[in-house]
Symmetry: C2
Subunit: 309 residues, 2 copies
């Protein structure tokens, strides 16, 4: 059996990197030959988690076909979010918790998608089904991924599966998920150290909606003013990204992780369609308050998908 690479989406967050590491470990225990890799630099939150549990980050790749014939995807399935040469390799496995789009295979495939808050929640189930023990450090990383994706179980994407998984993993990793979780989330909100490009694009994903190419970034903070004090510089950066990457729009969702409110900043057109998606209007500075919205996947992409259809 030839070697396969396992990776999450571009602009990897904690779940994208941890799920790759966890699924690769599981598949190797089952008998596959895999290596976890990542499609970009880890963010501050992810580095905090790997540091805390004394684990090394996977290496970064930009192409896969020069190394392997086939790959396993975690935490994504859409081609624009994957490795640049995804069309040149065979996808044999997918574990994901997002919508399915722009994904096709020539033959049958292993695909496990569940509408839960975090890929690592699904992977814990796969460990249990296959009767494979989870190493202590890996359990700590998987708990971190759940805390990160669900904002400590506060995001509306959180399901009972995530709550139970975090409890199970925290027990194995011997952590207090509340205390550790707040430290982890705060580690990801140090915006002063981020460039304008890192802030708008660091967690961004590309979506093809009704023929339009939307780039949607999200940034967590403990104070929305920390983000919007930099509004002018951010807009300039988003315009430049639109021009150099051929996006139609760039949306930035800034989310206050303490009170679960967000503010959306839009650059490009058609803004009217975005406004219609949320049933409200943009302010004159092209921002829009979205109280209670914290999940790009569950509260932003689905209404946009409908509005652009």
């Amino acid at each position: 059996m030839s070697k396969e690479l396992v990776f999450g989406h571009q602009n990897p967050d904690t779940d994208a990197i941890v799920a790759a590491k966890a699924f690769s470990y599981l598949q190797n225990e089952i008998g596959y030959d895999t290596e976890p890799v990542m499609l970009g630099e880890a963010n501050a939150e992810t580095k905090f988690a790997f540091n805390h549990f004394g684990e090394e980050l996977p290496r970064i790749i930009t192409t896969a076909a020069d190394e392997v014939n086939s790959v396993m995807l975690v935490d994504h399935n859409e081609a624009p979010q994957s490795v640049s040469d995804i069309a040149d390799v065979e996808v044999t496995h997918v574990v994901d918790h997002h919508r399915i789009a722009d994904f096709a295979t020539a033959g049958p495939v292993w695909y496990t998608a569940r509408p839960v808050g975090c890929t690592s929640t699904i992977i814990l189930d796969l460990f249990i089904e296959n009767d494979i023990e989870i190493p202590v450090k890996l359990a700590g990383l998987m708990a971190s991924a759940i805390i990160s994706d669900t904002l400590l179980l506060k995001s509306p994407t959180t399901t009972d599966f995530d709550i139970n998984a975090l409890e199970t993993l925290a027990k194995i990793a011997k952590i207090d998920s509340e205390n550790y979780g707040l430290d982890l989330l705060k580690a990801g909100t140090d915006l002063d150290s981020k460039s304008d490009l890192q802030l708008v694009d660091g967690d961004a994903k590309t979506f093809e909606l009704g023929g339009k190419k939307l780039r949607i970034g999200q940034v967590n903070t403990v104070d929305l003013d920390d983000v919007f004090a930099r509004r002018e510089a951010l807009v300039t950066t988003m315009k430049a990204e639109i021009n150099s990457n051929g996006y139609d729009m760039f949306l930035l969702l800034a989310t206050n992780i303490l009170n679960s409110d967000s503010k959306l900043l839009a650059v490009g057109e058609p803004k009217e369609t975005v406004a219609a998606a949320f049933g409200k209007k943009f302010d004159t500075d092209n921002t829009m308050s979205l109280p209670g919205v914290v999940s790009r996947k569950k509260q932003v992409v689905p209404p946009l998908t409908d509005a652009f259809a």
Copy 2:
């Protein structure tokens, strides 16, 4: 929770109907409100199985959106193989063992695909994972589906998962899978009672490959001559189907279930691309021997997908 319909592909075979019945039963035990239905008449083999185990066939539907808002798909995922108004309903669950193509959702979904020989094999695992007991008659039907899809475990699509699943289900259903299996398969090969259209189109599926629309039928027999004695009439029917449905090609794979050989009959263009897919040429009567080929999914669609790409 509002009611959902569960169904397999158009031109349903035994697995398409049984998997719908089994998955609906499982989901109802878990707490959903579902009803299994089918997208067309059951074939002779499927009727034999339902008769044998004293079960009633599900009712036939042609549209779903007039009854429900959401559906669960088994044994298929591609829109052209699904209910006619699939675009008007939400897909919440998929259990399948085919390639993934022409499938997209607005939000996260339950999707379980595994490269095994039969959907019912996967559903058995889902019963076990959810700790739900399988009724004796349903086990007999699920065993029938595995026998049907794997040609009594002889198809190259057969995996260890299917072998183990059939053993488990045969034990629950108290059947000798070898004896019962041959009776079941033979019940499906009575070609004399089939019209030309039933023969070419009864098990056919539509595939969009590289911009071309291919209709691919398969018929099982115990003697290939029983099929090709009717070649001229079949070609006439296939041409008529091409004209009335806008297909580019109609391919018919006739498979001898006793010795696992097939013969392919092609109508429409580009025949050269089809020939290239199998690395051989068509005879002057537009047929091609394909020794050892018994699986449309594993041995026909993948090389065609590559050749048309």
